[in-house]
Symmetry: C2
Subunit: 485 residues, 2 copies
């Protein structure tokens, strides 16, 4: 922990290092960045630094190490687990990476782009598009999420089925370590067997092992064809079979496969007065299927998907289906999917869980878990939807009618979440599919995660950050008994 | 280091634990496994253990930890860098994983197979084929290489361009740690953000952080179409452009792209009397192109590749090309490629280097490095060929005519290799593309690798294996000064 007597000389040296644009202690300027965007966590900081270069980050980290000042790195402050919010002690320095927002290079021929940590995802999409390429990862927060944050949390999104999470997009990495040294693996090598994969260790480590300052990311040729369909299904088990069926027919063109239960669609249609159901009749489950290609055009994709869905109809894997006739209709389909959270929120208090189970067990889990929760907590309603292709379930539990917003979440809501995490652990799944651990799930991780894996993480944290200066209180808590310095 | 006084009780306890089939001190039985298959390294061991289960490996590791006996894990003993051969002190236990050769489960629908460490790659290929699937990684040593060894060395092969190295095939892992604890991540989750990726840390760590006992691997649908072409090219720069051109036209069907210079082909044709050149005329460079699909048939692939190569001819990216008319002709093409090493060896002593550079710099590197080596070591001839799509260069330097085999390699040969590794490091490349570090390159890694990365690796090794019991002397040497226990 920082000794207050050190703070003044530390801040003076940091101010000299970073200049007037690079450091502030102004409470008004810092305020917006000390609360996470969902408003769940509020912290305090001795100052907010905004370095302009990797060299400045490295020098600042050296200074922080000398004065034992903890560092909380922050990108767009749009994380879902409080991972970029300092604690309330006010001893940490908030490190904004937003000034480092340069795209250092973009090479369409090599399919590579080198982004600094503060580049906003939408800006990367725009730059890729200008070069007739695309970056194959996107998510709701693209207008604020930064590359550094996306790398540090191993972000997911709706294209993971085909393209993988952020882990799969990162070809090279630059990071400042707890010592202030710079690990530079920005030059991508497709084959490199010189020992441990340090890059993969840093990805998803939520700033607890190093501060990501830049990344080399892969780019793909821009899509030339896209087709989107909505299917009505008799059951979640049929959805799983339909996924396999379409995968077989469409190969690597299959990019999205989202499932929506009937009552979710009902809530959305009630919530969006202008929206209408894509299909006539009510179907227990719905699937949103999207195929994208960089070599075939939309007409060719349409014909292939049409044939595939006709085959699925013959095999009774679906009851009805419609392929979007144009971009507008495709967007309408996606709007239904993307409005579920808002529609559920409008129904009253709810606990939302970002969990995953093995892909092939997902239908079984959804069928089993929902009644268990509803029985254990009478009056609640469990709603599961999400990325069937990834085993990623968005598992929402709605409070009983009449529950008091704000109160229910803190009392019964917490017990509901603990029970959901118990269940998903029993099923061999993960209590965090996409959003990470941050400060929100750090206690649950300690309670439920494999003790062998936890001990390994603690050892690595201890080895790489023995003084616990990198994003303290997040993800992994060092074991003071294990420290040897 | 083991204290000899401890050895007798250690061996007694190990014998009790593993039974008569599980432990031997018979020099005759051990001999074949104490020398690497290329005959470069010979070591000694107190005994050879061959446990039959993960539980036995874990119990043995606990025992070894208590007695401070180092462990050298070994699979098929077909590694290229001496990584599975103990040192000459005779203090280590050789741990053969070959008895753990069960395929625990194979699920074609989920595209997953769980293999124990001792499963031989060819057996996995056979099992996958029986289930109408395929495992998308293969290499020359498939008849002896085991899954545990392939995972521990992050093996590559000829399909990396499309499917990636072993790192990309591993969905889950089971490993015994230095404490004797079992890390079990066998259940694959497509999305899991519960902290550091321990699985990826263990892959490619060459047994220095843990002993891989089983892995969950991905399977793909069996190929329905395959087409192979041979093209004659004016230059290595044209080869690079041709690669981009075919990638654009064939998309993810492009699976192999190997380049062969004219003088390599000459050597092969001289070495294989029955072989003939695929094309009339002499071309400075040749490319072997293979496309594979699990949805299109061979006829459709043939037509697409034919059109693509015709377009490349129009753009002068190639001078001539032929597509194999049948499987037999495709095999003939591959035989030419696969015989280069044997043909070069027949020409006399040579130093072979498994190196990589950034994909887009590979033509430039080949053009620049060969004359530099030939000038620095008069009379030598530098031959570069390999996987252009991966930046992986097989860089062979042939001794001057009349050099004495066995003597030249130890004297000038070593200087040649040091110079090659200097060059590849200057070019931002890797001194080990595929084969790992083992004991062969451990000094060169220490000399040339980024000190920041090396220090990180040492810290991690120290944290996970503080007594240096896991495969000592390989890949990463712990720093005694950093030990705190």
């Amino acid at each position: 922990m920082s000794d207050p007597a050190f703070l003044t000389p530390f801040l003076e040296k940091a101010a000299n290092l970073l200049g007037p644009r690079g450091l502030t202690t102004d409470a008004g300027l810092m305020e917006a960045w000390l609360t996470d965007w969902r408003g769940r966590y509020t912290g305090s900081a001795i100052a907010m630094a905004a370095p302009a270069s990797t060299e400045e980050v490295a020098a600042l980290m050296k200074l922080a190490a000398a004065y034992r000042v903890p560092i909380v790195p922050q990108g767009g402050n749009s994380g879902m687990a409080g991972g970029a919010t300092p604690d309330a002690t006010g001893t940490a320095l908030l490190l904004s990476m937003r000034r480092m927002d340069r795209i250092r290079s973009l090479d369409p021929d090599a399919g590579q782009v080198v982004c600094e940590a503060g580049v906003i995802l939408q800006h990367l999409h725009d730059a890729a598009e200008t070069a007739r390429m695309r970056f194959p990862l996107t998510l709701g927060g693209k207008g604020s999420a930064t590359i550094g944050g996306l790398v540090s949390t191993n972000a997911g999104g709706t294209q993971v089925l085909r393209h993988g999470t952020m882990r799969a997009q990162v070809l090279g990495l630059e990071a400042v370590l707890a010592t202030g040294e710079v690990l530079d693996t920005l030059t991508p090598l497709k084959k490199d067997n010189r020992g441990f994969d340090l890059k993969q260790l840093l990805i998803g480590s939520e700033g607890t092992l190093g501060i990501v300052t830049a990344a080399t990311l892969r780019l793909l040729p821009a899509a030339t064809g896209r087709v989107t369909a909505w299917a009505g299904l008799p059951s979640i088990t049929a959805a799983r079979s339909l996924l396999r069926h379409v995968e077989r027919d469409m190969g690597e063109a299959l990019e999205g496969f989202e499932v929506v239960p009937a009552h979710c669609l009902d809530s959305v249609l009630a919530h969006l007065p202008a929206a209408r159901a894509p299909l006539g009749g009510r179907h227990e489950w719905n699937a949103l299927v999207e195929c994208v290609s960089a070599s075939a055009d939309s007409t060719a994709l349409y014909e292939r998907l049409e044939a595939s869905l006709a085959g699925a109809l013959d095999e009774a894997l679906l009851e009805d289906a419609v392929i979007a006739a144009n971009e507008r209709q495709a967007e309408d389909f996606w709007l239904l999917r993307d409005s579920i959270s808002a529609a559920e929120r409008a129904l009253g208090p709810a606990m939302q869980h970002d969990i995953s189970v093995p892909v092939e067990r997902m239908p079984e889990f959804i069928l089993a878990a929902s009644p268990l929760i509803e029985e254990a907590f009478p009056g609640t309603r469990a709603v599961a939807f999400g990325h069937l292709g990834d085993g990623n379930v968005h598992f929402h539990v709605l409070a009983p009618p009449g529950a008091v917003p704000g109160t229910w979440e803190e009392a019964e809501g917490k017990a509901v979440s603990a029970r959901v995490y118990d269940l998903v652990t029993q099923w061999g799944g993960s209590i965090s599919a996409e959003h990470g651990i941050g400060q929100m799930k750090v206690a649950e991780l300690a309670r439920l995660h494999d003790p062998v894996a936890l001990a390994l993480m603690t050892s690595i944290k201890q080895a790489l950050d023995p003084h616990g200066l990198l994003n303290p209180g997040k993800l992994v808590i060092p074991d003071p008994a294990a420290a040897c310095t």
